[in-house]
Structures are given as C-alpha cells and as structure tokens.
Symmetry: C2
Subunit: 315 residues, 2 copies
DNA sequence: GATTAACCTGTTACCGATAACATCTCAGAT
DNA sequence: ATCTGAGATGTTATCGGTAACAGGTTAATC
C-alpha cells in the first residue's frame, strides 16, 4: 500500500500538502497540485480509509435495518441491497445488515431503515446519526419510495381503459403509509368517475386472497378488475379466479404491485408496477452519504411508477 | 467513547496493561486483570475496531461476491446475507456486496463467494485473502452447502414410499457441482432399485418446465413423480400438470429443492428440501473469520437436508 | 550475598491520516 | 527601507490501539 508519505516523497513536498491536495485543493498552488496528482497517479495511491476514519471518529459503516419479519421479507430487498451496496462501495463505505433479532452494538455513520412501524418512530428519532427511510412515511423522515398513489391511480386508469366495469381494491391489512397511499390512488381514480369503491384488506399472503375469491365467487360478477396492493395478493386472486373457473384476462382483470420477482413465476405474468429497486437503493445510499457529508437534510425522493404489462389485463 | 486510556486511569495501570488484558491475558497478573476488568465494566468499554484495524492493516470488511445474474438471483440470497451479517456483526466486521458489475477496488479481509463458474476459478485462486464458497465445488475451495446428493436421494426415497412407480428427474441445465450432486442422489436411489432413470434438463425457469409437461403430456403416465432440481422448475412442472388436467398429488408427484420462498406462494405447497440458509450463512461467516484469525483452512461444512412436506406428494 | 533468569509492567514508536499551529514568502502600505 | 498581513507550506500532536524494547521485582542458583 502506498501512503501519503510515499506520494509526498515522490512529489518532494510534505505529506500535509498531499493531504491538502485531496481535501482542500484550493489551498494549494496549481504547480504543487500538478506535481502531487502526478505522483498519486504514478504510485496508484488510494487513501487509507481506516486511518481517515480514526481521525474523524467515523466508522464508514452504514446500517441497513430491515424491520419486517424475515418470513414476509420480500425478495426485492435483495435488489435494494445491491443498489445500496453499489453506491456505498463507490464511496468506500460498507454495510451492516440489522434485523430485529440482532439489534445492537457497533457504531455506524448512518442508517437506512425499511419496514418501519409506528412503534419504531421513537427510537428512530433518537438515533444520533443520519437516517434515510426506504418507504414513504408521515413522520418527517427523509425517504426514497415509488409514488404509490400514482401507481394505483395509473393501474386503475389502465383497467378502465381496458374496459373493466368494476374496480375492486385488494389491500394489505396494515397501517403503513404506502398502503394508505395506494388506497388513495385507487380511490381518487374511482371517485373521479363517480364509481362505487370496494375495498378488502388481508394480511399479505396469497392464500388469503385466494380464499376470499373462492368463498365469494358467487357474488363476483364478470368484467371486474382486482387491483391488488402486492404481487402476492395478486397471485392469490389470480389463482382463486382460475380455480373457480373464471377467465383472466377476458372476464376478470388482476393487477399487482412490486414486479421484481413474483410475477416471473406467475402464469400468466401479472400486470404490475415495476419498481427499479436497484436504482432506488442507490438513491438511498447517495441520499444518506450526502447527508453524512453535508449534514443537511436531503428531503424525500419519489420515483415515478412504471407499469409492467403482463397478461392479467385484456388488451 | 471510552478508550484504553480511560480504563487505564480508572484501574491505575498503563494503557498497555489494559491492552494486554484484552489480547494476552496470560501475561498479566490476576490481581491487575481483576482491576482492569472491573474498570472496563464500569466504563462500558468497547475496543475501537478502527484503531485496531489501523495497526494490523486489516479492513474488517468481508466481500460477498454474488456471481450469478441478478435476474436469476434466487431470493434465498437474502437469507444468506442475513446469516452472514449476523456473524459478522458479532465480530464487528462488515459486508460489501459485490456483483459482476461492480467488481473492483477496495481492500478487504476475506471473501464469501457464491455462484462461481468454471471461468472464475483462476481469479479466485489468485485472491490474496481467505475465501469461503457458498455452494459445493470441486476445485478444493472450502465451502458451505447442503448435502445435495443426500437431498435428492431422500426425496426419491420418499416418493417411492408414497407409491409412485416412476421417478423422473428434472434438472437444471448447468455444469455446476450442485447439479451433478443432485443428479447423483437421484441416480443412486433409482439404481439401487434397478429402475430406469429418466432425466431432463432445462434452464432454471418455470415456464420451460411447464412447456415440457404440456408438449409431452400424452406420453406421461399416471403414478409418476417429478423430482426437480429447484422450486422454480417444480412450480413449472406443477402448473403444467394441473393445466393438462392431471391430479397432484393423486396421480402425479412433484418435489423441489430450496424451500425458502417460492413454495410459500405455490398452491399446493411444494414438497421440497428446506435449507436453513440463515444458519448456512452464519456458518460461512464463522468459517471465514476463523480462517482469517487462525490462517488455517477450515474445510468444507455440509448441512444435512431436511424435507419440507407440502402437498405435492400423496400421503 | 551476588548473579542471573524469569516475569511483570511501563515507555516509546508507529500504523496513516488530519487539525492546529508555526514558519516562511512576498506584495502592498507606511 | 521597514512593517504588516495574507497566503502557501511545513511541523507537531493526535486519533486509539499494538509491538518491541526497557526497566524493575522477585526467586532460584552458586
């Protein structure tokens, strides 16, 4: 490993000058700067982050707190992590994964938190390091998320364009903000057209949605589209309809939300909201690192939803 | 943050003595040790890993290299990471996620690698830091994996016990070691009973398996069990059979391999090998950290497979 | 009783960076 | 010509640990 001193010798300056070239380039003359840059290049110098961390009492560690149960952990977290990791690696930060089970020790420079519940608000507010949430919230934390409301609004619109006469919303039985937003998107579209809303909510498990369809099959009329708050629920609805003898997409429409993994294994593929989770993860990372360096809030970052066209809405 | 010096003052010793109590406790008298421990407890002292890392030129970073395409990245990697993270956090290490796309810079103390192909053997052998593979291999790298052969052997045995007369193996069209082992497990069971083996291989996508069933439906006789190398393939087989009008589990059996996530959304649930990926991840971490500290190879660690009973084999 | 060895404990230097302070230079003011 | 001060560069101390060496006791040996 080449160090500051190596570069300094090569450039015939003191190591402090080299340090300044890196951190306060405006305080060094162009002439010396050129020398130093040249030396750095020749020696392929990379700063030792550990030493830097020691002086400024930082850790270069970001904690990713996944507060949801592992059981319900959606596969898209994998993509989230890939996105986060991409940014962090670039800045020589590294990641610690934290779940409710190993929630402890160890310092860090910042947090990315996902799956927050109301009960978590207190301790999160007390954290002494910058925080970015993955997933919208109404407690004033900076966050990165898809525009959930717009997502359901668009899907509802699409279902109408495709000629379905009734829109039923299948939601997740939770008090989280994203759920309210998705419902709001549905309701807005429905109310703009003076239609009667119909909402049902379940825990996010496909078999609950399936049961719902099967037990209520007689009451369900053709030409209905089911707008689901997740791909899991959509898969259940789809299966329920198929089992009951209904035809998708001819007589019934189904849409989901997420579109990372589940719709790959459904057949037909589900028309859903495709979230570019990797990019969103990168955004989380950048947002947080900015915050760490500038010590200023970066605000929320909302991604516009994109529809991924599957085979569960007719053409 | 309390430091060595704080503890030293409190215990009325030099900081070197405190350091020794931590790293070479045999070189300090019991009397002083007691004092120091007492002081450490009172001050809630935790060593600063950054400072330690600076002197021994380590990074406390482990790189997790996921060499598979993100598209085919199975959700179980999430669990793998949780397992790894659990161990690493305990030892104050942290993780960097590396994919083929951001394969670069940054030092580290060791690697956990998964999804290795033949073409990767060379550079992996050239790595200067300890390596543990997740997934069996035949190149002499230490690894952690489920006993793939035993897994398929057991499933085949189970299918026979449940009265299926014909066993068909549906494999993944790849040259990776785990695939050979699963095939070997199937073949061993089949040959022990002098049955005729039948193997088919596809890329690991459910719709390929589904197509296979549908195009060959006429040739497929009842009382056959399909032993699949992955849950994805099993889902495809299952769907193909159901679509073609076959009855599972009455006339046809289906088994998978993995059991982390996919079988949660299948209906009925697939009888599969449940891998405790979280534990395996922890094992990877421990194996690697051992290796880093002792500088000795720790060997392979093979987990015995457990069957997760779903509804795709009859009782 | 002096010598030596074994064993503790403390001192110093260092890992690779940065901040704070010291020094030096040179332009502009007096 | 001397003084002043701004701006550039170098020196020193520091972050929190550890290794290597130095010094001080005590017990065993002659």
């Amino acid at each position: 490993m080449t160090t500051l001193v190596d570069v300094a010798k090569k450039a015939n300056v003191s190591k402090m000058t080299v340090s300044r070239v890196i951190n306060h380039p405006d305080k060094v003359t162009d002439e010396l700067k050129a020398l130093v840059y040249e030396a750095m290049r020749e020696l392929d110098y990379h700063p030792n982050m550990i030493a830097k961390a020691l002086v400024d009492k930082s850790t270069r560690i970001i904690k990713l707190c996944i507060l949801e149960d592992i059981d319900t952990t959606e596969p898209y977290y994998m993509n989230l992590m890939i996105g986060i990791a991409k940014t962090l690696d670039l800045h020589q930060y590294s990641l610690q994964l934290v779940t409710r089970k190993n929630f402890d020790i160890g310092n860090c420079d910042g947090y990315i938190i996902t799956g927050m519940r109301q009960q978590d608000v207190d301790w999160i507010k007390n954290l002494k390091k910058p925080v970015v949430m993955f997933g919208e919230n109404r407690y004033g934390f900076d966050y990165v998320d898809t525009n959930n409301k717009a997502g359901l609004y668009k899907l509802a619109q699409l279902a109408l364009q495709r000629g379905y006469e009734k829109l039923v919303y299948i939601g997740i039985d939770s008090k989280e903000s994203f759920e309210y937003s998705r419902e709001a998107g549905y309701l807005q579209q429905v109310q703009e057209l003076r239609m009667l809303p119909e909402l049902h909510r379940f825990d996010n498990h496909s078999h609950l949605a399936e049961e719902f369809i099967e037990t209520n099959w007689k009451k369900i009329k053709p030409n209905t589209a089911f707008l689901c708050a997740s791909d899991r629920l959509a898969i259940g609805i789809l299966r329920g309809i198929v089992r009951s003898g209904g035809k998708v997409p001819e007589d019934f429409g189904v849409t989901g939300f997420d579109g990372v993994f589940l719709n790959q294994v459904a057949s037909p593929k589900i028309t859903t909201i495709k979230q570019s989770i990797i990019e969103m993860g990168s955004a989380c990372g950048e947002n947080l690192l900015d915050k760490i360096e500038t010590k200023e809030s970066q605000g929320a970052l909302v991604f516009e939803p994109k529809i991924s066209f599957g085979g569960t809405l007719r053409d």
